[in-house]
């Protein structure tokens, strides 16, 4: 007769097949997962509402941002056009000021200038001046201007 030592809760003999609890199948496990996610319908509605609201707010924000940018672009475009027109006006003002008939009028009326006409005579230029190089002439002018 062999010695037997009793160990609490330790089945000395393999349990009977009927006593063994069967492992849950994949389908059962899925069913249990759904039970975890099962929410109250009101709560579901609130979550859906929150999602729709968030998406709507996001869309509204984007749309308003696009609109704002569009107005900014329109405004900049108008400013661009205005500046081009101003540039054209300024160029024309310069052209009016540079117009030769205008300059001639100003010279005559405001500055009292008169055409040279025939009131000039040729001067004899000494030979040494005639052969002076442009560089020398420029230097002379520069010196004189000091």
């Amino acid at each position: 007769m062999a010695l037997r030592i009793a160990v609490p809760n330790y089945p000395l003999d393999p349990p009977a097949a009927a006593d063994v609890e069967a492992a849950p199948s994949a389908g059962e496990r899925r069913a249990r997962l759904e039970s975890y996610l099962a929410l109250d319908p009101a709560f579901r509605f609130l979550i859906a509402l929150a999602l729709v609201t968030a998406i709507s707010l996001l869309y509204l924000g984007q749309a308003s941002s696009v609109t704002e940018l569009n107005y900014a672009v329109q405004s900049q475009s108008a400013l661009h056009t205005k500046l081009i027109h101003e540039q054209q006006d300024l160029q024309l003002q310069i052209a009016h000021a540079q117009a030769l008939p205008q300059i001639a009028r100003t010279a005559g009326t405001r500055l009292g200038m008169v055409p040279v006409g025939k009131a000039f005579r040729y001067l004899s230029v000494p030979a040494e001046v005639q052969v002076a190089s442009p560089v020398d002439t420029q230097a002379g002018l520069a010196a004189g201007s000091r």
């Binding site: 569009n70 117009a99 040729y122």
Partner: protein
């Protein structure tokens, strides 16, 4: 009775829901019709209501001279409109009093004008108000409710020519529809105008395109800019000289054309009278004819200036040389018609050089007949006579040249055409032809625009174009020598001479063709006096034609046009710093 009351109550109870039901049914049907059956039509109507297409006007290109000075550009302006509907007489008086000073019009005249418009309540009060006047109108709109409620401005570009009537016939003008008329404005209108764009979009109440709506857009392409070959300084000198010459000679009108004989580039074209393109409707008694560019549209008989071409042809054709002599009897019999010298004098034995210097008709006829009819007209055509030069200015004529075989041709034409009668040219034709003598024998195509550019990038560059070689370089040199000798030895020529500079020139005094193929009397005020020449002779810096119509101080080109040529040439030599090629005495 209670039964009857129940019946009434029951009827009332049922009536209300039935009425509501019918109403709801009607609305349902109507909604179905509008939103389902008529969906496309309704949607289209909505889109049409909020969708608008605006045209984007391009900026018209500017015109600059050869030195980059602006000659034409766009300024901002506005058309002023008024709605006089539902305005009483007091309102109209008030409007006339307020707007009259802005429009430079007396209030009474403006009131009469407003009242005079019938058939419409909307009237255009003023076109192209400048920015200052438009600003005053805006101030009035902000201050006076009656103005705000009936007057509005429509922004429009206005072409501005800062120099007024300066170079008017080269530039032309743009009309109220912003279309180029005459000059380069018309010739290059397709390039200057640009291409309009558009914006089609759904818009808000301020007509600003909605960002999320359907839209399509095409940007406007601005017009190209023109750079002319014209030098403003030379143009100014030429106009000043022409205006003074007209006063001195009593000529009705005139023109001075200056070109580069080597390239055909037009450097200046002064005309008188001329118009102000800023106020192109103010043409007074001159009428629409004032717009015509006399340099390209007016044909006239060139008279003795044409002798240069005849002599060049005869020398190049081997018929004569400058030293060929003949006996001038003062008259020649051409198929029964006697042709005289203008002075009715016989020069005796003279060379071709002397004949050209004396402007002897008989010498020229000798040269032309020696060359022969066939060759003469071949040369004349080769010089470009009778055909448009192709210059880039609107309205160019081609002159009148009758060739052998034409119905209007007579064998006498060889004699008369030789000295510039019976043949008509445009000034630019004559200058192009004589440029061939000046430049060594090449006929160049004249042009006034050097570059067409957009955003600073050239899109068309007009380069000097050789049409053909007309005469040899040797012939050209011989004719240049003959013309220079004529200037140095004749009184008329000396007036065109500038001390220190060799000058080649030929004067002309042409009768004016009248009605029925006859000529007007060639007394004072009955001729076209002209001179065409170039200087310095060996390497000309310019070629110049001075033409005066109906001078009254003298009939002759040598006494009226030559002095102007000389004075202007002197200024050009100074301006271009051309060194003298002859000793100054």
């Amino acid at each position: 009775m209670p039964q009857a009351q129940n019946l009434i109550r029951g009827w009332r109870i049922w009536t209300v829901p039935v009425v509501f039901l019918l109403g709801a049914l009607y609305m349902g049907v109507r909604l179905f019709q509008l939103q389902v059956l008529d969906e496309t039509k309704m949607a289209t109507r909505v889109v049409n209501n909020i969708t608008r297409t605006d045209q984007i006007l391009p900026n018209r290109g500017v015109i600059r001279d050869a030195r980059g000075f602006l000659l034409a550009g766009d300024a901002q302006a506005a058309d002023l409109y008024m709605d006089k509907g539902q305005k009483n007489d007091t309102d109209l008086h008030t409007l006339a009093d307020l707007l009259g000073p802005v429009l430079a019009e007396s209030p009474d005249d403006l009131y009469t004008r407003i009242r005079g418009v019938t058939g419409t309540n909307t009237l255009l009060l003023a076109r192209r108000l400048d920015s200052e006047a438009a600003s005053r109108v805006r101030q009035l709109r902000n201050t006076w409710p009656v103005v705000e409620g009936s007057v509005w401005l429509d922004q429009q570009p206005r072409r501005d020519y800062p120099n007024g009537n300066f170079a008017a016939h080269i530039l032309g003008f743009t009309d109220y529809d912003n279309q180029g008329q005459y000059g380069v404005e018309q010739f290059y209108d397709d390039k200057l105008a640009g291409t309009p764009g558009f914006v089609t979009a759904e818009r808000d109440s301020h007509m600003i395109p909605l960002p999320v709506g359907d839209s399509s857009q095409k940007s406007a392409m601005d017009g190209a800019d023109l750079d002319l070959t014209v030098d403003s300084a030379v143009q100014y000198m030429a106009e000043r000289e022409l205006d003074n010459t007209l006063k001195q000679t009593g000529a009705q009108k005139g023109m001075i054309l200056i070109a580069d004989p080597y390239t055909g580039a037009i450097i200046a074209l002064a005309t008188a009278p001329r118009f102000d393109p800023n106020h192109f409707t103010d043409i007074g008694q001159d009428g629409w004819g004032l717009y015509k560019n006399p340099a390209v549209s007016d044909v006239y008989e060139p008279g003795s200036t044409f002798k240069v071409l005849t002599m060049a042809a005869a020398i190049d054709g081997g018929a004569v040389t400058p030293d060929t002599t003949f006996n001038c009897a003062g008259v020649v019999n051409a198929y029964g018609t006697l042709i005289h010298n203008s002075t009715q004098t016989a020069h005796g034995v003279e060379s071709m050089k002397e004949g050209l210097a004396r402007s002897c008709n008989i010498a020229i006829d000798y040269a032309a007949t020696s060359l022969g009819e066939k060759k003469f007209y071949q040369y004349v055509q080769a010089f470009g006579i009778g055909k448009a030069t192709g210059i880039d200015l609107a309205g160019e004529g081609r002159g009148i040249l009758h060739l052998p075989g034409d119905d209007a041709y007579s064998p006498i034409n060889l004699y008369t055409n030789g000295f510039g009668q019976g043949v008509s040219v445009t000034p630019v034709q004559l200058v192009a032809a004589i440029s061939a003598v000046a430049n060594g024998g090449l006929l160049m195509k004249p042009y006034v625009v050097s570059t067409v550019s957009r955003n600073g990038q050239p899109i068309q560059v007009n380069k000097p174009t050789v049409v053909r070689r007309v005469i040899s370089a040797d012939t050209a040199a011989q004719v240049r020598g003959m013309l220079a000798w004529a200037v140095d030895t004749t009184d008329a020529g000396k007036l065109a001479k500038v001390p220190g500079y060799s000058t080649a020139a030929k004067t002309g005094t042409a009768q004016i063709a009248g009605a029925n193929g006859t000529y007007e009397a060639d007394g004072l005020g009955g001729t076209i006096a002209s001179v065409v020449g170039f200087a310095p002779v060996d390497h000309p810096k310019f070629i110049m034609l001075v033409r005066l119509d109906r001078p009254t101080s003298s009939t002759f080109g040598g006494e009226t046009a030559s002095p102007a040529f000389g004075r202007l040439a002197a200024q050009l030599f100074q301006y271009w710093k051309v060194p003298p090629d002859q000793p100054v005495h």
